[in-house]
């Protein structure tokens, strides 16, 4: 018969034991014993960018594609594209966004989701463009926390080896900023 898994009174020790053997018993301050195990959970998704596809294909060509409402009385422009206008519901057309903009807001993340922890610290920035009604969220590189300010001019850079992700584009402080 297999021996019972070891018992711990600190949950941290339970977690350490799970790393080692995959099972442990937690005894709480009332003496209640609970068997704790661990198991993995991972998935590969098959994801279509569908109507957003031209944006991601554009990044690979060094272009930032936004969208503009086709209704003459509306004409709202979007830096983060959408195939139908949020204001009036009409279809939109693709437009090329300027490759220079300004920081609308920014932050430096010292922690992040598990998938991005190894990349910390990194900057996130909402970029505004002249003549465009909405913003684009991007990574901001080549700049320290102490350099950044709302209104700072920034410009786009593209990954020469695109992975068809929003991370194929990032911004850096514009020359002369």
């Amino acid at each position: 018969m297999k021996e019972k898994p070891p018992t711990f009174e600190k949950f941290r020790d339970v977690q350490a034991e799970l790393e080692r053997s995959g099972a442990a018993i937690f005894r709480d301050k009332d003496g209640v014993e609970s068997l704790v195990i661990r198991y993995p959970y991972s998935i590969q998704y098959i994801h279509s960018y569908a109507e957003d596809s031209p944006f991601f294909l554009g990044l690979a060509e060094g272009k930032l594609k936004g969208s503009k409402c086709t209704a003459r009385r509306c004409g709202t422009t979007y830096a983060t594209p959408r195939s139908h206008c949020m204001a009036c519901g009409a279809p939109t057309a693709w437009i090329d966004l300027p490759l220079r903009g300004r920081l609308h807001s920014w932050t430096t993340c010292h922690f992040g989701s598990e998938a991005f922890l190894k990349e910390t610290p990194y900057n996130l920035a909402l970029v505004e463009f002249d003549g465009v009604d909405s913003l684009l969220l991007v990574r901001l590189k080549d700049a320290q926390e102490s350099d950044l300010y709302v209104g700072m001019p920034v410009e786009a850079r593209f990954d020469p080896n695109p992975r068809y992700s929003i991370t194929d584009v990032w911004f850096v402080p514009a020359a002369g900023a």
């Binding site: 993340c109 922690f111 989701s113 991005f116 996130l124």
Partner: protein
């Protein structure tokens, strides 16, 4: 509302799975009202946020059967961080529509089942996975983006307008904003010292908060709520039955819900939907909501106030349990809910309006008691087991209005004297959905 119950929120409850946690909160609720037995409950609304945390789809069905509620009607409610608030309103609607006489609202979350940063990843999946998540999707990062802009709009422009070096002016504005956000964090942690259900009660100073670990500039660890395990339940019924179950019922006199775009980048720059006590001239140069304010919170507040007949929330509410996932969003929400005008949130804290009169916070709070916000300690100090959180607020508000804080907390330190009317506010995503419910004492004291 006739009764409620909450489990102590904790980092982990390894001795209770989600079904047992809900059962404990449910048993606590029933203990207070002997006339209300299970057979009088017509059905349930059950809330939890993330299937990723449970890795058990249709987990609400397991709560339903563990409580022995089959074959009564039930539905699972999920609406991001506002899941608990939505569950409360779903139960309200079940009763108000006449479909049920008595409805149980129950919610839980078990977030301890994954490591903290994996949990952050699950939560960040509640942002656009094409455009936002792959950048390093991280909710504290999103809230940092919002508060940097909020500070730019309201502190940089107003208090440091005389400084021409833009970097310097913004740095000083952020330092000022961070100091004031820290006062909110001190308040909520300190209030919770008298709340036995809270996960992180503690005595802190503004400096402690500022010096705690930087998570996403300028938000520090102590300005952010944590992940928790916990459950909460509320039982709602029609007015006639309420009197049969308790001589201290609480009336739900207003419900509101608002929404906004999933992506921060898509928020418009338009006009402010005005509270009855605001004028268009107040906001002539303000592009709204942008990323600095929560239009969904304003919409939810307006709907709930209209239904409750409230025209000046600051005067007509005695307290608010507000979704302070971040100290920054508590300040932003004061403005959305019309407790002060847009731009006055920081002054509102410095004047002391949202503080309790009976507690010494270590700094002056001249207006303390004007409208206490998060007397329980809020999410920052109580914890945030998402599916339970909005219901926890409902239960704490219920006890305040019943005048039974002493009975449930073992101390009357947090009892707001003669509390007649309060609000609960539940908030999801980057402000993509928000609920506000108004509760009122339903008996003569």
């Amino acid at each position: 509302m006739v009764t409620g119950g909450v489990t102590k929120f904790a980092k982990a409850h390894p001795a209770m799975d989600f079904r047992l946690m809900v059962k404990r909160a449910y048993d606590y609720a029933l203990r207070g009202i002997p006339n209300l037995t299970k057979d009088r409950i017509d059905g349930t609304r059950i809330s939890y946020f993330s299937d990723h945390f449970s890795r058990q789809l249709k987990a609400a069905s397991m709560v339903q059967d563990y409580l022995g509620m089959n074959p009564k009607g039930s539905v699972r409610i999920e609406w991001g961080g506002a899941t608990g608030g939505e569950c409360f309103q779903a139960a309200y609607e079940a009763v108000a529509s006449g479909r049920m006489d008595v409805c149980l609202a129950a919610g839980y979350e078990t977030m301890s089942r994954v490591a903290t940063w994996k949990g952050n990843e699950f939560i960040a999946l509640a942002s656009d996975t094409n455009f936002d998540f792959p950048l390093g999707g991280f909710y504290t990062g999103y809230y940092a983006l919002m508060v940097v802009r909020h500070i730019y709009e309201y502190i940089r422009k107003r208090k440091f307008g005389h400084i021409t070096d833009e970097r310097e002016a913004q740095r000083r504005a952020i330092a000022e904003g961070s100091r004031i956000m820290s006062m909110v964090s001190v308040k909520n942690h300190l209030n919770a010292l008298n709340n036995p259900y809270a996960q992180y009660p503690k005595r802190l100073t503004v400096d402690d908060v500022l010096r705690s670990e930087m998570i996403s500039y300028p938000l520090t660890r102590e300005q952010i709520c944590t992940m928790s395990d916990g459950a909460a339940v509320a039982i709602l019924c029609d007015e006639r039955r309420a009197r049969e179950f308790t001589d201290r019922p609480v009336r739900i006199i207003g419900v509101g819900c608002g929404t906004d775009t999933m992506r921060l980048a898509d928020r418009p720059f338009g006009k402010v939907p005005l509270m009855p006590n605001e004028k268009e001239e107040d906001y002539q140069s303000l592009a709204y909501p942008g990323v600095h304010s929560f239009r969904a919170g304003r919409a939810a507040g307006l709907e709930a106030y209209r239904m409750a007949g409230i025209t000046n929330p600051n005067r007509e509410l005695d307290f608010i349990e507000l979704h302070d996932a971040y100290a920054s969003s508590e300040i932003q929400t004061y403005e959305d809910l019309g407790l002060c005008r847009y731009g006055e949130g920081y002054d509102f804290v410095e004047r002391g309006d949202p503080f309790l009169k009976t507690i010494d916070y270590g700094f002056p709070t001249p207006n303390a008691g004007a409208i206490p916000v998060n007397p329980s300690g809020g999410l920052i100090a109580c914890g945030h087991p998402v599916g339970a959180t909005g219901l926890m607020q409902g239960v704490f508000a219920f006890w305040q209005l019943q005048g039974t804080i002493q009975k449930h907390f073992g101390s009357k330190a947090l009892q707001i004297p003669n509390a007649r009317r309060g609000a609960i506010h539940s908030h999801a995503g980057t402000g993509s959905s928000v609920t506000v419910s108004i509760l009122e004492r339903g008996f003569r004291p």
